[in-house]
Amino acid sequence: MKTLALLATIVTGALLLYGTRDFPDWADPQSPTSTHVSPYYIEHGVEETHAPNLVTAVLGDYRSYDTMFETVVIYCAGMVVVSVLRRTRS
């Protein structure tokens, strides 16, 4: 069983290591992640939302739909823990 697990891990890791060949170089300013969407946030974030912390600006304004349902997920987790674990007092 353990050898099978180790084998699966090594195969998956080898595939992923092969996949890193196509990644852009680390900390490259011209990589695709830094050139497509985020320059808009950096350039216009402060003047549109007046929040100098760009992470807060993107979290609370541009991507607030994301954050809203994330709050709902946390709420659901709390409710699930209460309903799974709580014993009724008898």
Binding site: T20, F23, P29, T33, P52
Partner: protein, 129 residues
């Protein structure tokens, strides 16, 4: 030779993330104890979050907190600020990971209440009886 060194310098981070992920994956499928599986799941999650955060790094850039009046007056140099988008996505992922851990621990306590053990093979033994 120089080419090999350039490749290593550009990619060594990704290789270490893959190694971290392999450690978490092995703990998830190879270990018998359920708490160990959960710790492995947490290591797996942090490895993936680390990969995402590292894509936001730019060489020679500062943190994504600007000077408000300076930015309003003169504008912002895009190359001098780290990419804030992966940070936002991973911020939510970390908080979701702790709620996932909470739900998993609740289920684990429930299993312990029913079977009296946390070892996977003993639980399977008791189910078969």
């Amino acid at each position: 030779m120089e080419q090999v060194v350039a490749v290593i310098v550009a990619k060594y981070n990704y290789w270490l993330y893959v190694i971290l992920m392999m450690i978490g994956f092995y703990a998830m499928i190879g270990k018998r104890n359920l708490v160990k599986k959960l710790l492995g799941m947490n290591i797996f999650q942090t490895a993936i979050i680390l990969l995402y955060v590292s894509t936001g790094v730019k060489r020679g850039a500062g943190i994504p907190i600007l000077d408000k009046y300076e930015a309003l007056k003169h504008g912002v140099d895009v190359a001098g600020v780290a990419n804030p988008l992966p940070h936002v996505l991973m911020l939510t992922a970390i908080v979701v990971s702790v709620s996932v851990t909470g739900v998993a621990l609740a289920i684990l306590l429930r299993i312990y209440r029913r079977y009296g053990t946390l070892e996977e093979d003993e639980i399977l033994e008791k189910i078969r009886q």
